[in-house]
């Protein structure tokens, strides 16, 4: 609501037509991004759709996808918010390196991420070996493995979003709280956290959407077994090899869910201070 008058004001300042050098590439960019989605919609076998979507395999994959993405988001919240706070509010040697490492999964090919996870947390991995020997826990080929893979690729989205919000938030409120006797953790919990809640929410939604679409790390680290590790993107990939119509239907579901989530996020993001 608040932003409305401001937006209107900005529009008045730009009454002249949009310059062509901006308009042309902008439109090309829009077409480039939207055209594949249009292709998906045009080629969707609408008449077969109800049958495709009610088949047990699809529901199994969708349910697993939603559960795993939600659990992965919970993991990123528990670990990522403190990490973002550390990056935004403290000074320590090598902070820039840590920041680069945290964002690495953003640019790392997901398959590479999956291989790295196997080598670290697999049954024979540097850490996974001990998990197996001490606790009898093996992560690959389990639903927990899917959550781990998804959290790995989704966490940077949350950390970046929360760190940005923290940097924009005024640290003097926290300082005031600590001078009034609150411990630093209490100040974080009672002052900072409510202050940056919109940023956390935006980051969580982004992370959730990323986790939902995760493919490479999941198929490499968690494998592919219906009902246990076969999420929607994996089901789409394998369906494409035998039944393209099913793959299109599955893709459509994933697309609809993602658009709904991102569209819901947009306004919230815009009004974040």
């Amino acid at each position: 609501m608040e932003s409305r008058p401001r937006r209107a004001g900005r529009r008045q300042g730009h009454r002249s037509p949009v310059p062509l050098p901006l308009l042309l590439p902008a439109l090309l960019g829009l077409v480039f991004l939207v055209l594949p989605l249009a292709g998906l919609l045009v080629r969707t076998p609408w008449s077969e759709l109800p049958a495709q979507l009610t088949s047990p395999g699809v529901w199994q994959a969708l349910r697993l996808s939603l559960i795993c993405a939600t659990l992965a988001t919970a993991v990123t919240l528990v670990l990522g918010v403190p990490l973002a706070w550390l990056l935004a509010r403290t000074e320590f040697p090598g902070r820039r390196l840590v920041r680069a490492l945290v964002t690495l999964p953003l640019v790392l090919p997901p398959v590479v991420g999956g291989v790295a996870l196997l080598l670290a947390l697999g049954r024979n991995g540097i850490a996974g070996r001990w998990l197996d020997q001490w606790f009898g826990v093996t992560l690959p080929f389990t639903t927990a493995g899917v959550v781990v893979a998804e959290a790995f690729v989704a966490m940077p989205f949350l950390v970046i979003s929360v760190e940005g919000t923290l940097r924009a938030a005024d640290p003097r409120y926290e300082e005031a709280a600590t001078t009034l006797g609150a411990s630093r953790f209490t100040a974080f919990r009672r002052v900072t956290l409510p202050l940056i809640a919109p940023g956390i929410a935006a980051g969580a939604v982004l992370a959730w959407a990323r986790a939902l679409g995760e493919f490479g790390a999941t198929i490499t680290f968690a494998g592919n077994f219906p009902g246990r590790t076969q999420t929607m993107p994996l089901a789409v990939y394998l369906a494409l090899q035998s039944d393209p119509a099913a793959a299109i239907a599955l893709s459509l579901v994933l697309l609809a869910v993602s658009i709904a989530v991102l569209a819901g996020l947009r306004d919230r993001w815009m009004t974040t201070p």
Partner: protein, 275 residues
Amino acid sequence: MTRPTHRRTLQLAVGGTAVLLALSACSSSDDSAGASASSSPSAGTSSAGDLKGTVTVFAAASLKESFTELGKEFEAAHPGTKVSFNFGGSDALAASITSGAPADVFAAASPKTMQIVTDANDAAGEPATFVRNQLEIAVVPGNPKDVASLKDLTKSGMKVALCAKEVPCGAAAQKALDGAGLKLTPVSYEQDVKSALTKVELKEVDASVVYKTDVKAAAGKVEGVEFPESAGAVNDYPIVLLKDAPNAGAAEAFIAFVRSEQGAKVLSEAGFLNP
């Protein structure tokens, strides 16, 4: 004032278009896995004497080692040619061919996947079976779980990776299991034979059912256990020239080379059976 603006407009538009073109070029060469395929002059009508340009071969993942070797020998025999490969699951390759990926030759790991291409009228002529492949159980070196038969894979506590039923190695494995009357629940259905093998190499699973040739190619990293039921699930590998081949002349020569005595030698050394 207007002139420089216009020029800049033009520059930007041209620049933007160039970027888009470059991007689309990238994506199409990704499909064919041969960046030079689209840019090389096509020698569609050249005779066997002056073969030129790139031959783009889409081949089943299980052919990776032997075809890479054959490609090198072919290039040596025909200077000026380059063989560029796209290895993957046969189904995925067939799907990209039927959706228009620029390729010259398709070598599939099963007649069923080849049929996807022939049914879509994308093949020039009849596919020819050039090798056959038999299954083998791949186990971790030293065979710590004492796998001696297909039945041993169904023991409790065994972690097995199978190929997905959609890809030929998975279909063959299922056929062997059905033939033996065994029911096996793997921990994962992998998307192609190489990823099933990799899980054994990394010791993340105890065993997987792959081709003999894959075990041979990964010698030292996995051990093979033969099983009699594999005789009932031998896969035929067909090869065909594609209809829209950008470099048909050289492609035909490559197919002839694969089917020649020299080619058969490389393939049988890799563990393939002659048809």
